[in-house]
Symmetry: C2
Subunit: 318 residues, 2 copies
């Protein structure tokens, strides 16, 4: 039986979805809600869009979403702003970005920061994806800057990964060579009206050709001008082709298993830590940190002491 | 009493230091070594250098290290390559980078990847900093790409944070506005012989002026050309000025306390997880992950079940 507070989310009621997202973002005890929503997930396809700041990712994502709307495909967008732990909120708030889409009920846009989640950014994004998936959005686009560990985890969750580059990104390509090159299913050279776009596209193609991918999808390079929409149709077609390929080749199922395992690991860590913070007082943490700072104890011994205390207290609480 | 295997590290013997770094990078049980080294730390100053790929960070770091050597200050460099979890190793290996420095025994260069550490990248960097600090390097430069959560943690550890930008990085500055702007002590506009360097420097200055920092260090903007060394002396002088300021204002001590607490938290998590992986078999993880993937169980309930099992087994093992 579908409970009363879950039904409006499953029906995709915008305000309930928004409330659910705020809930899973800010409350560590949102497990109850997520637990109820989880069985209704698995239909959405996740698209990761990643690239350095200034590559035009946001504009590109906006254009992709518009193409999906033209095809009457409901689209959720999660824009991850990893810089925001410092500011306590998403930099480019939902309001100012993608204004042209904001009024369409078939698209849902949310900027996310790290703050407020014990499990870190990737865990927060996972939870948000559960909400949007259950709410019936068919395509979920996760936009991330850079290539930190959290971004890596997020990208691993995606069914298709789009790496956005700029013309003349020679240095960047070299840096990415052994890294992002391995995860990109589609490489976009955006701002393709700039000088060097063709050369950059060629360089990326050469890198792809030089790689020995075992099997499966061969990465595609596409030139776009996000501001005018040039190349975006080709991009969306390629994304869909990649999704279909993965579903038929079984690699989607492997990715899902990998992602399920990672989520389990994340969640076990999170649960343990929730418990640890209940069983250890703020004053205890502070006191140990001060002793570490003053070199009266090392962090390794201090952590062992603390874990022993936690286990002892667990015993008393059971 | 200083133990035999710790002494050569404290003496700064290059090969022992290198071995110690490999040990803390790859072995989770390296706590014993770190425990012994920790009391000998606290003298080194940590400088974080961060910026997008292609900004010329590595060349700049090389130039900074060279200036320190001119002043006879021993310098350790940790270049964090966050893309490498995919490739399993640092992209720009130690050998090919900073070749001009590699032969000087007063400088130590190490590239780091994420792989092989349960506690994640920031924990791996923390441990490496302990080794280099104990080995007597006076300045430790941590070079990171991008602004993911791990990078944020790393930057928080640094005494001075240098943010490297390029001329015409208008988009980037806007993205960084509320994020990196808050953490940068020094902003470098590198490749300052390119068009727009002066304007970019002005824009950053304007952003700094518009911020209401409570007190303390006022961020400085410096133009450099890393390839020729132009501006690097000014940069190093400013870094040293910032370090002196922080020591006298007490903000260094606060940062250390914050960092000690974060390390304690990281390490407790890590220890717990080491234990969890001992008490739960691979087959159990796999089986649960598969049930999650098939929506037979949700990850939240699965994690609770697993934590309960771990606690029960802990009891039996004690």
């Amino acid at each position: 039986m579908i409970s009363e507070h879950v039904k409006p989310i499953l029906d995709g009621e915008i305000r309930s979805v928004a409330r659910a997202l705020s809930c899973v973002e800010n409350i560590d005890g949102a497990a109850e809600l997520l637990r109820e929503l989880y069985p209704y997930t698995g239909e959405a396809r996740i698209i990761g869009v990643t690239g350095s700041p200034g590559t035009g990712k946001s504009t590109l994502v906006e254009q992709i979403a518009r193409r999906y709307l033209d095809r009457n495909i409901r689209t959720g967008i999660i824009a991850v702003d990893p810089t925001s732990p410092f500011s306590g909120g998403a930099i480019l708030g939902d309001r100012i970005r993608m204004q042209s889409l904001a009024t369409d009920p078939r698209v849902f846009i949310r900027s996310m920061a790290t703050r407020g989640k014990m499990g870190g950014l990737s865990s927060a994004v996972d939870d948000a994806l559960v909400v949007l998936d259950a709410a019936g959005y068919d395509r979920l686009i996760v936009e991330t800057v850079g290539v930190g560990q959290d971004e890596v985890d997020i990208v691993r969750t995606a069914d298709v990964t789009v790496v956005v580059l700029l013309p003349g990104a020679g240095d960047e390509i070299q840096t990415f060579k052994a890294g992002v090159m391995e995860i990109g299913d589609i490489f976009v050279v955006n701002k393709a009206d700039r000088e060097g776009a063709e050369r950059t596209a060629k360089e990326v193609k050469a890198l792809i050709a030089s790689e020995k991918r075992k099997e499966g999808w061969t990465p595609v390079v596409i030139r776009t001008i996000a501001t005018t929409g040039t190349g975006v149709d080709e991009l969306v077609d390629t994304m869909e082709r990649c999704l279909a390929f993965q579903a038929s080749s079984g690699s989607r199922s492997l990715k899902e298993l990998d992602s399920a395992r990672r989520r389990l690991v994340d969640r076990v860590r999170e649960l343990f830590f929730l418990e640890a913070t209940t069983l250890v007082s703020e004053a205890e943490w502070d006191e140990l940190a001060e002793r570490i700072q003053k070199r009266k104890i090392d962090p390794y011994t201090a952590a062992e002491e603390l874990l022993a205390r936690i286990k002892e207290r667990e015993g008393h609480n059971d």
